[in-house]
Structures are given as C-alpha cells and as structure tokens.
C-alpha cells in the first residue's frame, strides 16, 4: 500500500513538472530560511554550553542603588572570590578575573596587541578550554606564566614549539608560555587571546586583596551539587556587608546563571529585561511564518488543480478506498515533496552559508552528522508535509465520487473561498514584513543622522601610553607640522565611550533632592576644535593655569541642574572648586539611541587615555596615516601603531540594529518572492480554467489589455483586502517596536501607501506575465482544445 502511495506520488510530481517546480522552489526557499534561522538560533542558545560545568556556573552581579539610580553592576571587589570559596560550603569554587584587557606581547621582533584576562587559580578547573599543549592543572600555578590561544601562539612563534618560550608583556615584565589552548569558540562569552594568573606579590594586587570597596573585578562561582542558590546569594551578601557595612544600603548581590549570560544580558533599573532572547524568538517566528507562506503556496496550487485529480479520487473511492486512505496518500505526496525540498535546501545552505555568516557575523556550520540535524530535518519535513498537505488532503479526499465521475463536478465557492483567504493571509504577512523592514531602516537612518554634537568624519583615535603622555607636546607639534593634520587633543576616554560617571558637583542653590549622575571627561586644549564640538556659551580650555580649576558643562547638564546663567558659576567637586567657563552642545558618546547624559569636562591632560587626531580638510586617511605612524613609531616605539576611525567605532553601536535590519530585509524579500511564485502558479491555473472564455471573449473583440484586466482583477482585489488588514497590524507592531527608542520616527501613512502600490504593481506584473501568453494566443487554438 505504502509503495503504491509513493509510486503514484512520485509519478504525479514528475508528470506535473511545472506544478512541482513551483512548489519545490517555494518550499526550498522556505526550508532554507528555516535552516539558516535554526542555525543562528541554535548558536545563540548554545552559548557557553561547551563548559562541562555549564549548569553550575554563575557570575556574581550586584543591583546598586546610587541616589535612586538603580543599575546592575558586574564589578566586584578582588578578595570576594576567595572569601566566598572559603566561607560558603555550598560553593565548590570561586574565581575572580579582570575584565578583558589589551596587552602588548613581544617575542623577538614581533610585537602584537592581544586581549585577554588575568585570572585567579581555579579558572581552568571551572571553565573548560581545550588544551593543545600543557595542562589545566599546572598552567597558571606560577604567577609569571601565560596561556596562549593557538592562533596567538602561531602569530608569535610561527611553527616552533611555544612551550617555555619567554614573552615580554607591555615592555615591562617577562612571562613564560606554560600552555596553549584551542582558539575560543565564537559562541563563548569569554573571548581571549591569552590568560595570565594574578601575581599576588604585586603591590597593587596585594593592597587590593585587602580592599573591600574598590570594585573592578568579575567574580564567578561554581555551585556544588544540590546547592541552594538563594542560600549562596544570601551568604555572598553577608560576606560583603561584613567587610563593608556601608555597602548594605547600596548593593544587593546575586548569582546570575551561565545559561542566561548571552540571552538575558539586559538589565534595567535592577530588573532583567531579556536581551538577545527577544531576537531569538522574533527570528524563530519569522522562520515559521516563511515556511508557512511556502506551505500556503502548496495548498493553493494543490486545491486549484484539484479538478485534474478529481477523477482519480472518484475512481479510488469507487474501488473501495476510504477517506483516511486517500488523505494518507495526499500526505505522502507532500512529505515526498518536503523531503526533496529539504535535500535541495541543504545544498542551498552549504552554498550560501559563507554569505550568511558574513551577514550575521558568526561562524556557523551545518553538521549533517549530528543527531540534532536529523531531528531538525524530521521536524521540518513533517511540519512542512503535514501543514502543506493538510488542507489539500482534507479537501481532495472529501470529493463525492458520483459527481466527479459524472463530470458534473466543479470546484465552486466552497473551494475558492479558503484559497482566497490563504492568499490574503500570505499577502498580509508580506506587507507587514516589508513595512517593518522599511520602518526599521528609517529608524536606523534617523538615529544615524541624529546630530551627534561632534564630527566623527576624518577623526582618528589612538590609545595613549606612558610614552605618548610624556612626549605629547612634541608628538602634537610634529603631527601639525606634516600639514595633513588640523588639530590634536587627548581625552580620558575615546569620544565614542564614557569611562567616568559620578554624582553631580555641588553649586549654590543645589536642591537637596537633586540626584544627578553625570558623565565625566578629562581633556586637553583644542578639545572643541579637534572633536568638532560646538561651544554654545563661554569658551574652550586654552591651556592657561586657571584651566586646572575650570570646567565645561554640556547642555544636558545645564538643563538637569536647572542653571540659568551657568558660565562663571562656581562648582564644588570632591574637595576642589571649579568655575564653569563654557557650555558645549550635547555630545552623543554612548548609545545613540538614548538621550545624552549630563556631562562635565575637566582640564586634566595628565589623566587621558586616548589621543584624537583631526585630519585636515580633504586629506585622505591613506595619505595621513603613514605620516602619523612615523611620528608614533618615533615617540612610542614599544607599542605597535594602532588607530581607530571614530566613524567606524560609532558605526559599531548599530551592530544589533544593523543585523536586525539586514535579516528582516532578506526575509521580507524572500517572503514576497515566495508569494509571487504562488501567485504566478494560481494565475496560470486560473488561465488554464478560463482559456475557453478568453478565446470566446477574444473572438467577440476583447483587447489584450481588457483580458489582462479581467484576470488581474481577481488577484488585485485580494491584495487590496490584504492591504487593509495588514496596515493596522504593521502599524501596531512597529509602533510597539519603536517605543524602545527615545529618538524615534513617526510612522508615515505614505510609507504604507508606497508599500501598497509596490505590492499591487508586483501582483499586476506577475499575473500579467502569466496572462499575456493566453491573451495574445490565437483564440481558434484554445477553442479547438475543448
């Protein structure tokens, strides 16, 4: 029986090549999208899972309340980890690490800037890394050891054995390579080129080990079997308060499981607000929707051509086939089709994976030997086969054999209505997706075009070092002398980041309840000139001795502090007095999606970590960079020359939004494409059915245009209905999405009009292309076929 089903299914597909190809194309695109999204989602869900202790690992976080500003903080005091480990029996291990730090690793002639962590002793017991040379037990027992990743070892030593080689760090001290680990997988939260142990004999570390207020480190715990996390959390709080009682009214500590690090990384006012999980959900839904659109194509085309199969159904029923057997037969056909589409999709995925990886900036791969792949394949094939086959199977198997064999059978309104509903459904989804794509694009452009308060173009930043700080005057002088550089300054942090936040200074008339957190920036002269920052009132620093007790405020600060005539006002910060000498425009340094924080700018050239260089007008970076490099080589010889373009750094703030924009863009295009394939198929069946009518009308004098309109009218009506349904849906979804942005566009009605016209035009083109052949054919031919 089964063999018979498959045989006839196969022959049916083979004989109706056009129908099968249309469906295969749609289903293949749908399944390909699904596989890609599945890979992406699997990667996101698989973050950090390679750690053997995955289920038992936690990061210690704190909810801190500074003057009613609540935020979540990962910075902990250095001695916390050791105290947790020795005082909480339910904790198996605790580890403290620095945040990721860049260091210069030198060996012979090679000097490389690499990033990594300094960690405490149990790091390799807690987290699982693949050791290629050396072992986790002895890798960091010696404080002057270093563990490298395979590619950093290769970059430093080429093909020679890296073990026991001595590397100089930051041109300051030597360490010995004790182990090499495989490169860190892309889906790891820890990303590093090297790992070094804390050197507890170092003065700073020694001091910090007894310091319970300076929070600069990250702490991780590994819970013992059956441990109660509430109990551990409580004990961590107790330990911290015991050593620093003043912290009790500010901080509450809690453990954050590794399974949430990637997907639930966002906190707002001390509450977890999700994170990537929102996009994992969104894209999973989109994958199902695209597959659904492809399935709808199949349903529509199958039922549209049902008259062709009616006889077969009639005969089979006459010969004793039950409804269930017929349904089974139709399901087997769709499942075969889904299988073929799946195989084609796997080829398509292999072909397109490099492009997709570029698109999503990941290193995804399709492993057909893994059980996950086969389970996924089974789910996709069954889903596609059952969903696509459901309606046709129900519909076809319900035919009355008497009527179909008599030839009086005609698919009436009963068959057409669901088909129309499905087509409208497809177009609703497509219109919503296209509108969403355009709105996301507009929103990103809106933010990118926001006045940043400085000019990011042709601006370069270079990290400051001990040498550049000492030689800054001469470096600046030589840079200006090249004639290619128009201004140079230095700041605490690069202009694309804020490193310093603190409560606002005091001023006369400050309200008692003024809880203002301000960003802080220290800088040198030529700040506004180099950055292109506007000075709205007063003046910039000029290097006068009085500048050391001067301060600039930004517009947001003036507004937040409620100052009327800020220039000349006295501010008290710490134990010093400052005079406000100027007001700058608002500078967007952190998230371009959020309002600008109030900011104070101090004249502290000695407290700067970033050098900013403004290229002269019309000077190309290609010309300027070699000149800048030679100056830095001369005055900063122990560091490799590295620089960043501010506009590129700024662009990185849009990574998530750009990714979403790109993905929705691709999926919207594919969705509409699948819809058009289905439309083309339906149009050609409509024409086939009405070929005689077209012939008769032509004989009676109908023009080609009239015939095109006749056939298109039916479809245009459906698209119009879809448009009316989709418009409020799209508006509602996108308005909701826009709410997360403080600076957002207003959705224009013209956008929907444009999308509507676009879809209408597409429909007209697709239907007309199919109709044209019938409309211009000789009517005698079509009349004779009857």
């Amino acid at each position: 029986m089964l063999k018979n089903y498959f045989k006839i299914a196969w022959r049916n597909l083979w004989r109706n090549k056009g129908f099968s190809a249309t469906n295969l194309l749609g289903l293949t695109i749908g399944i390909t999208c699904t596989i890609f999204i599945f890979l992406w989602v699997q990667d996101e869900l698989g973050y950090n899972k390679f750690h053997k202790q995955y289920d038992h690992l936690y990061k210690v976080l704190a909810t801190r309340n500074f003057n009613n500003q609540i935020f979540t903080d990962e910075n902990m005091v250095l001695p916390l980890a050791r105290s947790i480990e020795s005082n909480i029996p339910q904790v198996k291990r605790a580890v403290v690490t620095t945040s990721r730090q860049p260091r210069i690793l030198s060996y012979a002639d090679s000097r490389l800037k690499k990033e990594g962590y300094t960690v405490s002793e149990h790091f390799f017991d807690m987290f699982s890394w693949k050791f290629i040379k050396g072992n986790p037990w002895t890798a960091i027992t010696d404080p002057s050891s270093i563990v490298l990743t395979q590619s950093s070892a290769k970059a430093l030593f080429g093909n020679t054995d890296p073990l026991d080689k001595v590397i100089r760090i930051n041109n300051e001290y030597d360490v010995k390579v004790t182990a090499v680990v495989a490169d860190v997988p892309g889906n790891s939260t820890f990303q590093f080129d090297y790992i070094m142990p804390f050197n507890y004999s170092n003065d700073y570390i020694k001091r910090s080990m007894n310091e319970w207020t300076n929070s600069s480190w990250n702490v991780f715990v590994q819970a013992g079997p059956g441990a109660s996390m509430q109990l551990i959390d409580k004990s961590i709080n107790d330990i911290k308060y015991q050593h620093d009682p003043s912290d009790k009214k500010i901080s509450t500590y809690f453990t954050f499981p590794m399974s949430k690090w990637r997907l639930y990384s966002d906190f707002k006012e001390g509450k977890n607000t999700g994170g990537m999980i929102a996009y994992v959900r969104l894209f999973s839904i989109i994958a199902v929707i695209i597959l659904l659109i492809a399935c709808i194509n199949f349903m529509n085309l199958s039922t549209a051509r049902s008259e062709k199969r009616a006889k077969e159904v009639g005969v089979r029923k006459t010969l004793g086939s039950g409804k269930r057997q017929l349904m089974f037969q139709f399901f087997s056909e769709t499942i075969i089709l889904a299988c073929i589409a799946f195989v084609l999709s796997v080829f398509a995925v292999y072909l397109l994976l490099p492009s997709f990886n570029t698109l999503v900036d990941k290193q995804l791969s399709l492993d057909i030997s893994s059980p996950v792949f086969w389970i996924g394949a089974l789910i996709i094939i069954l889903f596609t086969g059952l969903v696509a086959g459901s309606y046709p199977a129900l519909y076809l198997s319900s035919f009355n054999p008497v009527r179909v064999l008599k030839g009086t059978f005609a698919s009436g309104k009963r068959a057409v209505l669901p088909r129309h509903v499905l087509v409208v459904g497809q177009f609703v989804i497509s219109i919503v997706l296209i509108s969403a794509t355009i709105i996301i694009y507009q929103q990103i452009q809106h933010i990118k075009n926001r006045d940043m308060g400085y000019n990011p173009d042709n601006l370069i930043t270079i990290p400051a070092t001990y040498d550049t700080q000492n030689n800054f005057a001469v470096i600046k002088d030589e840079l200006i002398k090249t004639g290619k550089i128009s201004a140079v300054t230095r700041t605490l942090s690069p202009i694309t980041d804020i490193w310093w936040k603190s409560p606002a200074p005091d001023w006369e008339g400050k309200p008692a309840n003024a809880d203002i957190i301000m960003a802080g920036l220290s800088t040198d002269i030529d700040f506004s000139k180099t950055m292109g920052v506007k000075i709205l009132q007063g003046k910039d620093f000029s290097g006068m001795p009085s500048d050391s007790s001067a301060m600039l405020l930004n517009e947001a600060a003036v507004k937040a502090m409620g100052l009327q005539n800020p220039v000349g006002m006295l501010m008290r910060y710490g134990n010093r007095n400052y005079t406000v000498i100027g007001i700058t425009g608002n500078i967007v340094m952190e998230s371009p999606f959020k309002p600008v924080d109030p900011m104070m700018v101090y004249y502290q050239p000695y407290n700067c970590n970033s050098i900013s260089i403004r290229l002269g007008q019309d000077v190309s970076p290609q010309k300027a960079l070699p000149l800048i490099e030679s100056v830095f080589k001369k005055y900063n010889p122990s560091y490799p020359f590295e620089y960043q373009f501010v506009d590129e750094e700024f662009g990185k703030k849009f990574l998530t939004e750009d990714l979403i924009s790109k993905i929705t863009n691709v999926f919207a295009c594919l969705a509409i494409f699948i819809c058009c394939i289905g439309l083309a198929g339906l149009a050609s069946f409509t024409i086939e059915k009405r070929i005689r009518e077209i012939g008769v009308r032509k004989v009676l004098g109908a023009t080609v245009q009239q015939l095109l309109l006749l056939i298109s009218k039916e479809f245009l009506k459906l698209v119009l209905i879809a448009f009316v349904i989709a418009l409020p849906l799209a508006w509602w979804f996108m308005n909701d999405w826009l709410q997360q942005y403080a600076f957002r566009i207003h959705i224009s009605i013209w956008l929907f009009v444009a999308v509507g016209l676009l879809i209408l035009l597409l429909t007209l083109i697709v239907v007309s292309l199919n109709t044209l052949k019938a409309a211009i054919a000789n009517p005698v031919k079509s009349l004779r076929t009857e």
């Binding site: 006839i8 049916n12 089979r316 010969l319 004793g320 039950g322 054999p401 008497v402």
Partner: protein, 225 residues
C-alpha cells in the same frame, strides 16, 4: 441478492427540486443479468450509484445480500463496496498515472491482498482479458476497446458478487462493444450478478431482463427469452 423497496432520492438546488427516484422498488436475484433502460434523467444512474453504495437514498429500504444497507455510513459502505461490487464505466475511468497492471491491482490493494497473490491474480485476469502484453502501458497509450477491457479486468479482479456497468459500450465502436458485452456475458455465466445501465437496445439483448424506467419509476419489465 438486491431488494429495494420504496426507494426515494431527491436532488435539491436553491430553486429546483428534481425527483430522481420515486418510490422505486426492484429486486435482482443472484446470477441475474439485468439491463436498466430509459431516457436521460429517468433516474438510471442514480439507481446505479445507490446500488453501488456510492450514494445513499433519502428514504426506502435497500437490502444487499440480506443486510439493510440504506443507512450505512461512508466507511461501512466503502468496506462493503470493495469486497462485493465491481464497476465498469462508460468513460473507463482508469487512473492516468498508473500502468495497466497497477490499475487492475488497485482493488486488491484496497482489500489488503498480499503482494504475491496480487501479482498472480492480476496476471490471471489480464491474461483472460487478453491484454497481458499491455501490462506496462499507461491508459493513454491504449485504444478505447483496450481501455474498457482493462476497466472490466479491474472490475472483476476482486471476484465481486455484483458488477455494475454504466453504459459500458457508450464510448466504443461496435466490434469493441460486442467484445465487451461478450465478456460481461461470460462473467455472468460464471455466476456474477450484473446490473447494466444502457441506451442501446442491442446491448440490452444480452441481459435476462430489461427494467425500463421513467421519472424515477419502473414502467415496464421485459423478460428476455
């Protein structure tokens, strides 16, 4: 074998009500060959459909092999049909996607005959119908006469007690028509009950008895001698 009493069937559309069978009563004995004749619209085909358990009557009784089947549901009807009744249509109604062999095999598949037995029985019947050499051809590759022979082969492969033939020679020339009628006569002589709807007096003469219908009722019965 068949006893129908006061059978009624009315087709309704929005505006028109057509009485297809009007309190029709007929009896067909086992081993009989009955022809049903009458003008278009007299209810012949409706009768045949109800006899073939493809359609159900609005009222009346239909006893098949001693069992009342008028109120059988779809599943029970299908089950009874596939074991007891074979069909021969005017337009052959072969499945285009299946070969001659596979078309004839189909009823055996639905009655759950094992593959080995199926092959034997299909070959046997194809041989008998003299179309064995065409076993791997598709219906479109055959002449009308050959197609009807396949259809007859398909109708008899399950050894049904009853064959219902709906104008079996309507689409055939006279020599092919005579051949098919001869086949039905042979089957009848071997014990199969046959009810045949026809417009052709010539074909009707092959039967034992002609039932003439008009407006959903029997108006006359001729016993053939």
């Amino acid at each position: 074998m068949i006893k129908i009493t006061d059978l009624e069937k009315v087709y309704r559309t929005d505006e028109v009500e057509t009485v297809a069978l009007n309190k029709l009563s007929i009896e067909v004995k086992e081993g009989e060959f009955v022809a049903v004749m009458g003008p278009s619209g007299c209810g012949k085909s409706t009768l045949l459909n109800i006899l073939g358990l493809l359609d159900d009557p609005d009222s009346g009784s239909f006893i098949f092999n001693g069992i009342e089947v008028a109120k059988f549901n779809e599943r029970k009807r299908a089950d009874l049909r596939k074991r007891n009744i074979g069909f021969v249509f005017q337009s052959f109604n072969l499945i285009d996607e299946l070969t001659v062999f596979e078309n004839v095999e189909l009823p055996l598949i639905y009655t759950g005959v094992k593959p080995g037995d199926r092959k034997k029985r299909v070959e046997e019947v194809l041989d008998k119908m003299q179309i064995m050499h065409r076993r791997n051809h598709y219906p479109q590759q055959l002449s009308g006469g050959q197609q009807q022979r396949v259809a007859v082969a398909r109708a008899v492969v399950n050894k049904p007690k009853l064959i219902l033939a709906d104008e079996p020679t309507g689409n055939l020339d006279s020599s092919n028509g005579n051949e098919v009628m001869q086949m039905l006569t042979d089957l009848n002589e071997q014990g199969t009950t046959i009810v045949m709807v026809t417009h052709s007096e010539h074909d009707a003469r092959y039967s034992h008895r002609i039932i003439r219908m008009l407006d959903g009722q029997t108006v006359l019965e001729n016993i053939m001698v």
